[in-house]
């Protein structure tokens, strides 16, 4: 992760040239300047106090105010604050003067340094992906400021230092603010690469790791002024809704087009590949017209043959039939032989239902095609603005450079909003009516035409030696969604000499997608629950049993030991309570959790009383937000563990809204939830999802400790719990 892009390429790619007037600066080949604060007109600089663009990332005004450009989506994870914090740290900016704006959608300039440069906010990678490059960019901006002062005062740059938003020359006791420098600064032909050893020593960080730095977006989110795309209103705007295929892949024929067109307010009816769109002058009229659509759907779509409950039988056959070779995800030693030679062999299967993202803001987008048809604007909340922009351009038949995308806050993403499908749809409707169109998905649309975390089944087999320790491991995963099932199948922190991990995927024609923590949810559940089942049979303490598996990995041991200590692992608990422990690493962050539960044997309801979590996320850029993300991923995890299940029958999604797809409510929260981060100087790793994968198995393991029974099908609904405890 460290400096995967050499400093020299950084310089040549981000070469800045001063334009003739000396006021604006362009970047070679891309000739762009960040668009000015489209969201915030009062920030529009007036000509006198325009200030200076110091680099692609920052603009300084003579009065000292600093605009830093944030390249990441803000979907609740806090990166819009965390990334500017990293930049401002190395620039040595006075944080109270910083204002944050979205950067333009120019991946070649604002893409991160480590994964192909795409402007995607996924996989908890914003902070880790931008950490090195934003430190470098911040240090370069600081250099530009110091270099200008050195020239002005005619002193060697080496005699200068900085304090927040100030350049200092100690020898002559002179100081000058960044704002003043901005009034005369010129940019060098070439930005120097700042060597790593000249970046700040983390010991001297003022902003990174500062508990007091609060999120930039929160004030607007408590008074109703924060803008999501669904809030956009434009002059002359009309409303679009779409009735989509109940079975993925079915094509629509509209039977009553004439009738629909006659409904007052209806402007246009648009036939799409996967549905019928209605555009009307108000939202309520569009919805009424949608309800009146009579559509015949084509038969024969692949998905129509799929029913989720039956799929488990297919997966079971598949994982038990070794002649059906799948794709090997990892293989070492000779697991087949090792299992044969083992003192005892264990086998178990775990099931995971489809899950729906349930982001609270349903999908939506606003698209406006210019009257002459040669350019367009898009307002949306997206995790992948570059692909959303490209998708709109394709639908509208425009060059991407003719499409402007205005990023908005996302009312939740969780992986759903890195698909551009809803932007494509809005573009198709806008193209048909040549008016600004706001497309809204109802909750029912959002759920029934969802892209789900795939259904899957995990088959595990492990051999133990005479001491009862696991030495061999055979792990076969089956389900739909292909690669989505692979993440988290590996166990880099456990020492297992003979191991095989294989994926035998089936395609049902169902739409699947990354869902917070992707495959780590189901895979870590299976792995960690299985380990406890073996430990229980071997009459070993599951915490110590894991310690042995992790013996070669101090980072993993550290989080496990930390959480065990936080929870007081092994202490005597009240009657009817038990604790469970589990470990998982996600986005490079090892984490472990303990929960304490009780069970209502009448209703089958599991109550989680306490949760403790320890995570190693390297350097923690924003400690309070990191804690909030961990709390959130633990609670979203609990939601999926207890409540969430999408079922599909003959290709049709059976659920439609929160009454039949319940998610966690406040009534379900634990009495206490405690999070600790390991002190670390390592580069940051991802924290947006880290809590999610280990909470499910921690619950299952507590249940095993409490009842002696294993929960092998997630979610752990009361019916399944009762069936498990009843099935002695």
């Amino acid at each position: 992760m460290k400096n995967s892009k050499s400093p020299d390429t950084t310089v040549s790619r981000r070469k800045f040239l001063s334009a003739a007037g000396g006021i604006t600066f362009a970047i070679t080949t891309y000739a762009i300047l960040p668009q000015w604060a489209f969201e915030n007109p009062e920030l529009e600089p007036n000509p006198e106090d325009k200030g200076r663009q110091i680099s692609a990332w920052v603009h300084i005004r003579p009065d000292g105010r600093i605009n830093i450009y944030n390249p990441a989506a803000e979907m609740g994870q806090g990166s819009m604050t965390a990334l500017p914090v990293i930049f401002a740290e190395e620039m040595d900016a006075d944080w109270s003067l910083v204002h944050i704006e979205y950067s333009p959608i120019e991946p070649k300039i604002y893409g991160p340094g480590v994964w192909g440069g795409r402007m995607m906010t996924v996989g908890s990678r914003a902070v880790s992906g931008y950490y090195d490059s934003l430190r470098q960019a911040g240090a370069q901006a600081r250099y530009v400021l110091m270099d200008n002062v050195a020239k002005k005062w005619n002193v060697p740059i080496t005699e200068l230092s900085t304090e927040p938003s100030m350049v200092i020359h100690r020898a002559s006791k002179r100081k000058i603010s960044y704002g003043e420098i901005a009034s005369f600064a010129t940019l060098p032909e070439k930005l120097p690469a700042i060597p790593a050893d000249q970046l700040k020593d983390p010991k001297n960080f003022r902003l990174i790791g500062n508990q007091k730095i609060t999120r930039f977006d929160i004030p607007a989110k408590v008074n109703g002024s924060a803008k999501y795309a669904i809030d956009v209103r434009l002059p002359g705007m009309v409303y679009g809704v779409i009735s989509r295929s109940p079975v993925n892949g079915a094509k629509p024929s509209l039977l009553n087009a004439t009738e629909i067109r006659k409904i007052t307010g209806v402007i246009e009816v648009v036939t799409l590949d996967h549905g019928i769109g209605v555009v009307a002058d108000t939202l309520e009229k569009a919805l009424k017209a949608k309800a009146a659509l009579r559509i015949e759907w084509s038969k024969g779509a692949k998905a129509a043959t799929h029913s989720s409950e039956q799929a488990y039988a297919e997966y079971t056959a598949l994982v038990n039939d070794d002649s059906r070779k799948g794709r090997s995800l990892e293989s070492k030693g000779d697991p087949a032989n090792a299992i044969k030679m083992a003192t005892k062999v264990y086998t178990a299967m775990y099931k995971n239902d489809y899950l729906y993202h349930a982001q609270m803001e349903p999908l939506n987008a606003v698209v406006s095609l210019a009257a002459d048809g040669t350019s367009a604007e898009v307002w949306c909340g997206t995790q992948a603005p570059d692909s959303a922009k490209g998708a709109a351009a394709r639908v509208l038949g425009l060059d991407e450079s003719k499409v402007t995308l205005y990023p908005h806050y996302l009312g939740g993403g969780f992986g759903r909003r890195s698909s551009p499908d809803y932007v494509e749809e809005a573009a198709a409707l806008a193209k048909a009516v040549r008016k600004p169109v706001k497309l809204i998905w109802t909750r029912e649309d959002d759920m029934q035409y969802g892209q789900f975390r795939p259904i899957c089944l995990q088959h595990l087999q492990a051999g133990v030696d005479q001491a009862g320790n696991i030495t061999s491991w055979k792990y076969i995963i089956s389900g739909t969604g292909d690669n989505l099932l692979a993440s988290g199948a590996e166990m880099p922190f456990y020492t297992l000499p003979d191991l095989l991990i294989e994926l035998r995927a089936v395609d049902h024609g169902i739409r699947t997608k990354h869902w917070r923590a992707v495959g780590h949810g189901p895979n870590k559940y299976a792995i960690e629950a299985f380990i406890d089942e073996i430990a229980q049979d071997q009459q070993k303490d599951p915490y110590q049993y894991r310690r042995h598996l992790m013996r070669n990995h101090p980072r993993a041991l550290k989080v496990l030991d930390t959480v065990a200590e936080m929870a007081g692992w092994g202490k005597k608990l009240p009657q009817g309570r038990a604790m469970g422990i589990a470990f998982a690493e996600r986005s490079g962050s090892p984490g472990a959790g303990v929960c304490e539960i009780s069970l209502d044997r009448e209703t089958g309801k599991i109550k989680v009383h306490h949760i403790w979590a320890a995570v190693d996320g390297g350097v923690i850029v924003q400690p309070d937000n990191a804690r909030a993300q961990t709390e959130g991923s633990l609670l979203m995890g609990l939601s999926s563990v207890f409540h969430e299940s999408i079922t599909i029958k003959n290709g049709e999604v059976q659920q439609s809204n929160f009454h039949d797809y319940p998610i966690l409510r406040m009534a379900d929260i634990p009495e206490t939830l405690e999070v600790k981060f390991i002190d670390s100087q390592e580069a940051p790793s991802g924290l947006g999802e880290a809590g999610l994968p280990f909470i499910g198995p921690a619950v299952a393991n507590a249940f095993l400790a409490l009842t002696g029974q294993a929960l092998r099908h997630m979610p752990f609904t009361p019916e399944r719990v009762l069936a498990t405890v009843g099935a002695k």
Binding site: G76, P219, N223, Y228, R233, E361, G412, Q629, E631
Partner: protein, 152 residues
């Protein structure tokens, strides 16, 4: 179509809509008061919570005609400067993540504190359990309400 006069945050507003149009669409799409959110449209999630004569209601299933002649309060009108004790506590506790549910959370909590100045933890949980938060900010919502209750 009917001409309907509403009193929203102390101001009279007139709209021309079908009387069965939901108060939510009227607030958001006709009047531009977009702080109140749409999420489920069926009274399941609480994102659209506003006050009608001081009581919390789900605007998504309330026909606009029902709201006529009554005082409607939305998040925009909860306080003049965004300084209701709950709003301050929400910032202190850094509650919001995506933020989409938070207008509804705050409006629901404000109605609770207006009728019960010192709610117990159980009372808070009971009152708030109808407002969903997908980001899982519940621990902080609870703390923020407890903090605000101390201030009132």
């Amino acid at each position: 179509m009917a001409t309907i006069t509403l009193t929203i945050n102390g101001e009279k507003r007139t709209v021309n809509v079908e009387p069965d149009t939901s108060l939510l669409w009227v607030l958001r799409e006709h009047l531009g008061l977009t702080g109140t959110k749409y999420s489920c449209g069926k009274s399941y999630c609480g994102a659209c919570t506003v006050h009608l004569d001081g009581l919390p209601i789900r605007s998504c299933t309330t026909p606009v005609s029902v709201a006529e002649k009554r005082a409607i309060t939305t998040i925009e009108g909860l306080s003049t400067k965004g300084d209701h004790p709950l709003q301050k506590a929400w910032i202190e506790e850094q509650v919001a993540q995506c933020g989409y549910c938070q207008s509804g959370q705050i409006m629901q909590a404000a109605a609770l504190l207006a009728s019960n100045k010192k709610p117990s933890r159980e009372e808070i949980i009971n009152q708030m359990s109808g407002v969903l938060c997908r980001c899982g900010t519940y621990m902080r919502i609870l703390k923020a309400i407890e903090r605000a209750a101390k201030e009132i």
